[in-house]
């Protein structure tokens, strides 16, 4: 088995309804994502998942010197950031891609599939 990171990318600027156009859209996506998470658990693919607070809440820490240097904001300034992710345990890429497609439909965002190094 291999662990895969399924990351969801969304806009840096989030409006009133997070990355969604309306309250209804947001609630539907949350419900669908919840159902998808349940399915991942039931089918044994679940390792971990979570939604992240906006990128503006991030702090970069460089601890390589004598005293850690702290910088406000995300490491890279881009238009899109990871908004949430799943870590799944799947037998091969075909299974991971199929689950990513289901997750993408549920959360209404594009999903990047990336394997962890080495077998799970």
């Amino acid at each position: 088995m291999t662990h895969y990171l399924l990351s969801v990318h969304g806009p840096a600027e989030r409006g009133e309804f997070a990355a969604y156009g309306s309250k209804e859209d947001m609630e539907e996506a949350f419900a669908a994502t919840g159902a998808f998470n349940e399915k991942l658990r039931a089918d044994g693919y679940w390792v971990f998942a979570g939604g992240l607070a906006p990128a503006g809440t991030a702090t970069v820490v460089d601890g390589q010197g004598e005293t850690p240097v702290l910088t406000d904001g995300p490491y890279l300034e881009t238009k899109e950031f990871i908004g949430g992710f799943w870590i799944i345990d799947a037998p091969d890429l075909d299974v991971a891609l199929r689950l990513a497609a289901e997750g993408s439909a549920a959360c209404r965002g594009k999903v990047e599939v990336r394997p962890f190094e080495g077998p799970a």
């Binding site: 291999t2 895969y4 037998p91 091969d92 890429l93 075909d94 991971a96 891609l97 599939v113 990336r114 394997p115 190094e117 080495g118 077998p119």
Partner: protein, 402 residues
């Protein structure tokens, strides 16, 4: 020396796809398989010139390659878990319900996996199943050798790290995945049949390899009509190869010397098209094959059944409403309804970067007698094509207008 090694290299290339596919299955790793195969070649190059090519060269190469791979993995002290796993790789791994289980077929689906970039799919297929060398593939696609080597390395690394599966897709996924495989074979063939670059206008190494792989695919999936359709299509196009270039100029279908067409390939292609008709699940490649069957059925260009060809193009348009199909359909319309009707259809298509669009316009404009515009269109077509024989043909046509 060359004469001594030629039979070994020929046997090696013929067996290469089989050899690599079996080794990948056994060791679960493409790099291990490739290294073992090239070690087996070195042993063969040393032994065969003296002892002669063994009666079963494939079996001999396989036994030697497996022995070398195991020796090597032992020598390296089974450095990591992957190689340990490879040694105990279990042949009885349960497989999903693939229609036929053949190592080459599994590997072909791995090479053409949709998670790989399209150009990487073609390169991997030619390398691993066709046995072409990296310099040969680099030359075929006009990229530097290092670029091609990097492309292959990156694709193989992704296959290993992301665990691109080595199996025939499940029946539900088969049509979509098969389509990616057929696309790769058709692209390889097309690159051979209208080669870019200043070399030979037709690259028979590429056309031959595409046909060989299509035949393999047909043997493995004989019930899939699109597989039969693709093989029929390639055979019916390849049958016209000898008549296609004369004195360095491309010869259009209508002007070809039909006595030079390969009758046995045409008969085989027609038989495949008839089989497709009885299966009655039409698809893109079957329709293209049927169109080519109509062309190869006509004893002379003037006897071509254009209404039949238009009917087939209409069917194809419903499956694939792309501008390229519309362009090819317009060529048939020109024969049936005249070049002015065809020109109106073609002018609407968003294909201004495509050599065949300019060439079709040039031809229609010339036939209507709008010579100045035809010359401009020939110039644009000449600038857009990368094929030496097509450039020569278009230049000659343009010169007739002066």
């Amino acid at each position: 020396m060359r004469n001594e090694t030629a039979p070994v290299e020929r046997a090696f290339r013929e067996e290469y796809g089989h050899l690599i596919a079996s080794l990948v299955r056994r060791f679960g790793d493409i790099d291990v398989a490739e290294d073992a195969a090239s070690e087996a070649l070195l042993v063969a190059l040393e032994k065969w010139p003296q002892s002669g090519v063994p009666p079963n060269p494939g079996g001999w190469l396989m036994t030697t390659a497996v022995r070398r791979a195991i020796d090597r993995l032992r020598r390296e002290n089974l450095r990591d878990a992957k190689e340990q796993a490879a040694l105990v790789y279990d042949d009885s791994t349960p497989e999903p319900t693939g229609p036929v289980e053949d190592d080459r077929l599994r590997l072909l689906f791995t090479c053409c996996h949709p998670a790989l970039a399209p150009e990487a799919r073609i390169a991997l297929t030619l390398r691993l199943l066709g046995g072409l060398t990296v310099p040969e593939i680099a030359q075929a696609f006009l990229v530097p050798e290092t670029t091609m080597a990097q492309r292959l390395t990156r694709a193989k690394r992704k296959i290993a790290a992301a665990k691109v599966p080595y199996r025939v897709p499940e029946t539900a996924d088969l049509p979509a995945r098969l389509d990616a495989v057929l696309t790769v074979l058709f692209l390889v063939f097309n690159e051979g049949y209208l080669a870019t670059g200043d070399g030979e206008p037709i690259r028979t190494d590429l056309t031959g390899e595409a046909i060989r792989l299509a035949r393999t695919l047909r043997d493995l999936l004989p019930e899939e009509p699109e597989v039969l359709g693709l093989l029929a299509l390639l055979l019916l196009i390849d049958a016209r190869r000898a008549a296609r270039v004369a004195d360095g100029l491309l010869v259009p279908l209508a002007e070809q010397d039909r006595s030079r067409w390969d009758r046995s390939l045409i008969a085989e292609g027609h038989a495949l098209v008839r089989t497709c008709l009885t299966i009655n699940r039409p698809g893109r490649y079957q329709l293209l094959a049927a169109i080519n069957a109509v062309h190869t059925d006509a004893p002379a260009a003037s006897e071509t059944d254009w209404s039949q060809i238009l009917t087939l193009y209409d069917q194809l348009t419903r499956l694939d409403p792309s501008p390229i199909v519309a362009l090819n359909r317009a060529v048939a319309v020109a024969e049936q309804d005249g070049p002015d009707v065809a020109l109106a259809l073609v002018d609407r298509l968003p294909l201004t970067g495509y050599h065949a669009w300019h060439a079709a316009r040039a031809e229609f404009l010339r036939r209507i007698g709008r010579n100045a515009e035809a010359r401009e269109a020939y110039d644009a077509a000449i600038a857009a094509t990368g094929n030496s024989a097509e450039r020569a043909y278009l230049g000659a046509k343009r010169a007739e207008l002066l």
